[in-house]
């Protein structure tokens, strides 16, 4: 679904990604873990066209070359991102947030997809006329995910969806990620919560200061010394 080869991103003098390669196969969940400042968000922004890589190739759905396309074109192609830190539209209502999420669509199934979001997150249905600012942190994260789903992505990019949420809410979010994947969307999941992420992921990658240091299936990665020590907090 998504193949990244030798990706480099620079912010002026800062070389944030140094030749990163990664693959998200069709129908799979890939997890990208790494510490703060490793370059995870940078990678997602590059994939969704919000920053331009200085080097490297990104291919989507087998043929489509990314990297030169504008972000609105990428959404149209089926790539949708849930940005870090619940970037919802706080002064719009819940339902308006979802409407804006369907911004590029003209088909008649928008309503049906909204029903699906209500099924995934019944709490949002109850609060649909409230302004998004009044939602709790977890509900805002649900809304951000719901909004991204409204564009019917084939590839969903999630940037630290569990950040700052209560354990129970984290469970809910990860259960939903599985459900969304079950509906056929491929997912690239960025997380610091390596334990949860590697449990749901088919494939995992570890990013360290801009370089990919490890990759493998979820269980494989959980067994490596490095992951155990630095990301799972085991001695």
């Amino acid at each position: 679904m998504l193949e990244i080869e030798n990706l480099h991103v620079r912010y002026g003098a800062i070389h944030a990604l140094r030749g990163v390669s990664l693959e998200v196969r069709s129908g799979e969940i890939a997890a990208l873990i790494g510490a703060n400042g490793a370059g995870k968000s940078t990678l997602l922004k590059a994939v969704s066209g919000l920053i331009r890589p200085s080097e490297g190739r990104m291919r989507f759905a087998g043929t489509q070359e990314l990297g030169r396309l504008a972000s609105c074109e990428l959404v149209r192609q089926g790539i949708s991102m849930v940005p870090e830190g619940r970037a919802i539209f706080s002064n719009l209502t819940v339902i308006e947030n979802l409407e804006v999420g369907a911004y590029l669509r003209r088909d008649s199934e928008v309503k049906k997809d909204r029903e699906w979001i209500w099924e995934l997150f019944p709490r949002l249905r109850d609060r649909q006329r409230q302004s998004a600012a009044t939602l709790s942190g977890g509900e805002q994260q649900m809304l951000a995910i719901g909004r991204a789903l409204m564009s019917r992505p084939r590839l969903l990019l999630l940037d630290e969806p569990s950040l700052g949420l209560a354990p129970l809410m984290v469970q809910t979010i990860f259960r939903t990620i599985r459900q969304i994947n079950g509906k056929g969307a491929s997912i690239l999941l960025v997380e610091q919560n390596a334990h949860m992420a590697l449990q749901v992921a088919h494939r995992g990658y570890v990013l360290q200061t801009g370089e990919m240091v490890l990759s493998g299936t979820g269980p494989e990665l959980m067994e490596t010394e490095q992951v155990k020590r630095f990301y799972l907090g085991e001695a």
Binding site: L74, A87, N91, L92, V100
Partner: protein, 333 residues
């Protein structure tokens, strides 16, 4: 066709009422109050259009007076060089004169608007691609530069200013423009795609992730806002005084307009209308206080901002019954 009437019936009625009121006011209202009413109408156009940029789309323009100046001087040039002499040559009278002058004013106002919109595009295009405060700096600079340019253009009167021949922007002309401006911006931002403006204001980055071409919408808001600033400038130039000087369009004027937008509520069109009316009327009401006028005025502003930091209306709107639903260009099947 039926839908067109449904959507525009109210607008047409309002326009007819405005025309009738204008007719009545011209004959029966004291010229002093008449002038204030016209000033209020022009202020409404300026503040609502600036709200589209600063409030609804969340950008920060500090040069609205500059775009007003472009509209004022472009329309002045047109009137002095062409429209004025031509109208004079026709030597019309009575109803015929009224109609021809009204149409001429329409053309002049559109020319002023288009000139300002072009200036807005040239200034906004590079500044809006970048995030942050570039727009504030660019527009502030533009406002000052354009004022100095007019100050030094002797053909347009230079610093002394320029006198402008009829047609005059009377109550009817000003309020027809104000109603059209408000209706146009209201429909734009309450249309289905119009939520994009609010989305950009709320979180530009997130707006991009749902596929909104943020630069495009920012430029649309800015160019449209500048267009209406130009319209207001043209109306101002052709108001009863018929005389403009570059000093009338300085940075203080731009800041006054920003104050009105903030006071009314960033993002609230009805708030902008109320604030434009209130802050235009207030100095007149305070005339009795003579030298304390500015002090009282500032104190009132501070008081409002302390008690209602979100502005008089916040983001809320006073909605008419037929505005409860989002505006639809086509009937929902």
């Amino acid at each position: 066709m039926k839908v067109f009437w449904q959507n525009n019936m109210a607008l047409l009625v309002v326009l007819l009422v405005v025309a009738a009121a204008g007719f009545g006011f011209q004959r029966h209202l004291d010229p002093y109050y008449y002038k204030i009413l016209v000033d209020v109408g022009i202020a409404i156009i300026l503040v609502v259009s600036l709200n589209l940029i600063n409030g609804i789309t969340g950008q920060f323009s500090l040069g609205h007076a500059g775009f007003m100046a472009v509209g004022a001087y472009a329309s002045a040039a047109l009137s002095v060089l062409a429209a004025g002499p031509w109208l004079n040559g026709l030597a019309l009278g009575g109803a015929q004169k009224m109609v021809v002058e009204f149409v001429a004013l329409g053309v002049i106002v559109i020319v002023g608007g288009v000139a300002a919109a072009l200036a807005g595009f040239v200034v906004g295009m590079p500044a809006l691609r970048l995030r942050g405060d570039y727009l504030a700096i660019a527009t502030l600079g533009f406002g000052e530069i354009i004022r100095i340019v007019f100050q030094n253009t002797e053909q347009l009167g230079g610093a002394r200013g320029i006198s402008i021949p009829p047609p005059r922007s009377d109550f009817t002309g000003v309020y027809v423009c104000a109603v059209l401006c408000v209706a146009f911006i209201w429909r734009l931002v309450h249309s289905v795609k119009g939520k994009s403006f609010f989305a950009i204001r709320e979180d530009e980055f997130a707006a991009a992730t749902v596929g909104i071409d943020t630069t495009k919408y920012k430029v649309i808001a800015f160019v449209l806002g500048s267009f209406f600033a130009g319209v207001a400038g043209a109306l101002f130039a052709h108001s009863a005084t018929g005389y403009i000087t570059p000093a009338q369009f300085d940075a203080v004027k731009s800041i006054e307009l920003v104050v009105m937008v903030v006071l009314g509520g960033l993002g609230s069109i009805s708030g902008s209308i109320i604030a434009a009316a209130a802050l235009t009327l207030l100095p007149e009401i305070l005339r009795g206080f003579a030298e304390y006028r500015l002090v009282v005025y500032s104190l009132l502003l501070v008081l409002v901002m302390l008690t209602r930091p979100q502005g008089l209306m916040g983001m809320k709107e006073i909605k008419l019954p037929w505005h409860r639903q989002p505006y639809q260009h086509k009937p929902v099947a």
